[in-house]
């Protein structure tokens, strides 16, 4: 047994580290460090930088334009990039629909869509949830009726992240009403500029616009835009959900967040005029968080080793999602606690200025409440684990 990487992996780490140190422009790096949100232009610029380095798609196989890295290499890559405050490659084309297309799509779909994803030129969003179909996705109502070579799609989608930036949406729609609700669902690729597509912004409690509602009103979608077989969409959806829940390298970002918080505590005034870092209660809570993050790091390595050995991601990937969400919530909470009332100012009026970083801390704190809701709530994850470990 060993916790450490092989010499080859360590050499790879050096390579990534060297790149990471100078890859991102300073302004971008500063924004990542402060937990500030990047603009779409910045995300696209970053994707171009990655493509120029040949690392446009770290998780894709080589034949589709990916790096063909092992899981360990991907892990090392993600760790090092996070440690150097490089942005994530955040668009859903790369992480979600791309893999669906090269796995289940036809040749024409691959040829048409993969290049735009790799270059960052085409931005995708994911149309799954509906008002009455959140955790219970099989209850979705948006329907597509065949009309010649088109489907005519009607319905709505909600909680669609970055829909207002997107060129394309991959959506689950009902193509027939079967007894078993999961059947009769298909996946369609729909241009966002198609007639009948309306995007409505949703403001979240962090006073930000990232998610949207999408109305689909008699939208005509060529049948050629269906991925795979009609009625097989549920399977692709599950494939994606499992990926969304998969082994991410978020734990390195958690470690960075703890480090940043520790820096902050050294400067924050605590009781008795000493820095908060010397406050026994605060320091101890931070230590507790740090220890739990370390535990998660080892768990990620364990899951990685299992995946490399060919095991299916099982209850343990739900576990990673539960634990990393919970830790992220506690870390961002503590960052706001550290500020006290100084953390409260949020929106400057007239020509007022806010203390640097204050609003980001609060924004991250508030938005992080969603990590136990979106993409399968913590309760759903626990149901999944319960079924597996109890054999229910």
């Amino acid at each position: 047994m060993r916790l450490d990487f092989t010499p080859e992996e360590l050499a790879f780490r050096e390579e990534v580290r060297e790149f990471a140190a100078r890859a991102a422009p300073d302004a971008m790096r500063r924004k990542v460090r402060d937990g500030e949100e990047l603009t779409k232009d910045e995300f696209v610029a970053w994707q171009r930088i990655m493509q120029a380095r040949g690392w446009a798609a770290p998780s894709w196989p080589r034949e589709h334009g990916g790096t063909g890295w092992t899981l360990s290499q991907r892990h090392i890559f993600e760790e090092e990039m996070a440690a150097a405050d490089c942005p994530q490659q955040a668009h859903f084309g790369l992480s979600l629909i791309g893999p669906v297309l090269y796995t289940f799509g036809d040749e024409e779909q691959r040829r048409r869509h993969l290049p735009g994803i790799l270059s960052g030129d085409v931005w995708w969003c994911q149309g799954y949830s509906e008002r009455q179909a959140g955790s219970d996705l099989a209850a979705l109502q948006t329907h597509a009726v065949r009309d010649g070579d088109d489907y005519v799609v009607n319905g709505h989608k909600i909680w669609v992240t970055y829909a207002h930036w997107a060129d394309m949406i991959f959506a689950l729609v009902r193509t027939s009403r079967e007894e078993k609700r999961q059947r009769g669902i298909s996946m369609l690729l729909i241009p966002m500029d198609a007639k009948g597509v309306t995007v409505r912004p949703i403001e979240t409690i962090d006073r930000n616009h990232q998610i949207n509602e999408i109305l689909l009103d008699d939208v005509r979608v060529p049948v050629a835009n269906r991925v795979g077989a009609e009625g097989a969409g549920w399977g692709y959806g599950k494939f994606l959900l499992a990926r969304e829940r998969g082994v991410g390298a978020t734990q390195r970002r958690l470690r960075r967040a703890v480090e940043r918080l520790r820096d902050r505590l050294r400067r924050a005034p605590g009781p008795d005029g000493r820095p908060l870092a010397e406050d026994a209660l605060f320091a101890d809570r931070l230590t507790q968080l740090e220890i739990e993050v370390i535990g998660l790091e080892v768990t990620v390595l364990r899951v990685l080793a299992e995946l490399e050995a060919g095991h299916e991601p099982d209850a343990r990937s739900s576990m990673l999602k539960i634990r990393s969400a919970e830790l992220l919530q506690r870390i961002t909470e503590m960052a706001v606690e550290a500020g006290g009332t100084e953390a409260m100012p949020f929106v400057p009026l007239d020509d007022a200025t806010l203390p640097p970083g204050a609003a980001h801390a609060v924004r991250n704190y508030l938005y992080t409440r969603a990590t136990t809701i979106f993409g399968g709530s913590a309760e759903i994850q626990r149901n999944v684990i319960a079924r597996q470990i109890l054999g229910l």
């Binding site: 200025t353 979106f374 309760e379």
Partner: protein
Amino acid sequence: MDFSLTTEQQMLSDSVARFARGGTEASWATMAALCWTAIAIPEASGGLGGSAVEVMIIMEGLGRGLVAQPFAESCVLCPTLLTELGEGHRPELQGMASGTLRAAFAGAEAETRFDPLNPRLRAGRRPDGWILDGVKSFVPDGAAADHFLVTARTGSEGPSVFRVPRDAPGLEREDFLCFDGHPASRLRFTGTALPADALLGAEGGAGPAIELALDRATAALCAEALGAMEALREATAEHLRTRQQFGQPLAGFQVLQHRLVDMFLACEEARSMTLLATLRLEAERRERIRAVSAAKARIAQLARSVAYQAIQLHGAMGMCEEFTVGRQAKRLIAIGMLYGDADHHRRRFACA
């Protein structure tokens, strides 16, 4: 013991509920017209001389209805500070009672965290008065205030309080909205010259008055939190009863039921703590401090956990600014930090 409301108190409670349902029309003018602005001011100073229980009733109602008015600051904290400093005769108090004059308390500084008794803002003597230099970083509802009650240190041992008009020379104000939507301001004093009578009470003797004023305001905030918690608990119960998932209402899931039970337990405990703080405001100093700080410390925890659960149980809807639940949750989180967080008040309780 007796926890029942008098007939008048019940009427007040009903009146607050009606007012709070008014939403954005729940204005300061209406509150003044209903004489609530006068309720915590002694009769001798032109107020109604109401008790802490009336304040609690109003604040619980405002919390329940998510009314963003600085009642605790403007109608409880500031008047208490003035009267306790022996300035009960000042005409300002009558203006505050009638709602025509608003004051804001400028106590918080970035450097002193939650300690209100050791301000760094400096007040120097000059021949015909005082000169103020320093920054107050967080003044709730500062933009709407006609004058500020500013804590400062002079040559003396303890803190002093000065009355500063909003248009005083050398006073710069920056305004912002807090994450809970409430307005607040930052005040920068640069050689702000004040007349001699700007000093309220005795020089260096404002400590006890500041403590009592903050304790009253803190108890009031506890009541506001209680109202907001109850509202979230009810909204969440209603959501669980009506929202369908997997072919049944969410209320059918035992895990969610028990979460709601935990919210209920938190609300009940918050009510007990609010009553404790409220009914001990007139006790001797140590008992009062222990009651108020115990209440604030615990309610900060309970309020946060109710806020989180309400968001979680509402799912994605809880994340949306358009629904009340997220905004009420944010207010609860903010109340937990105002005038000292849980850590601060546990420490204050233990040292009292």
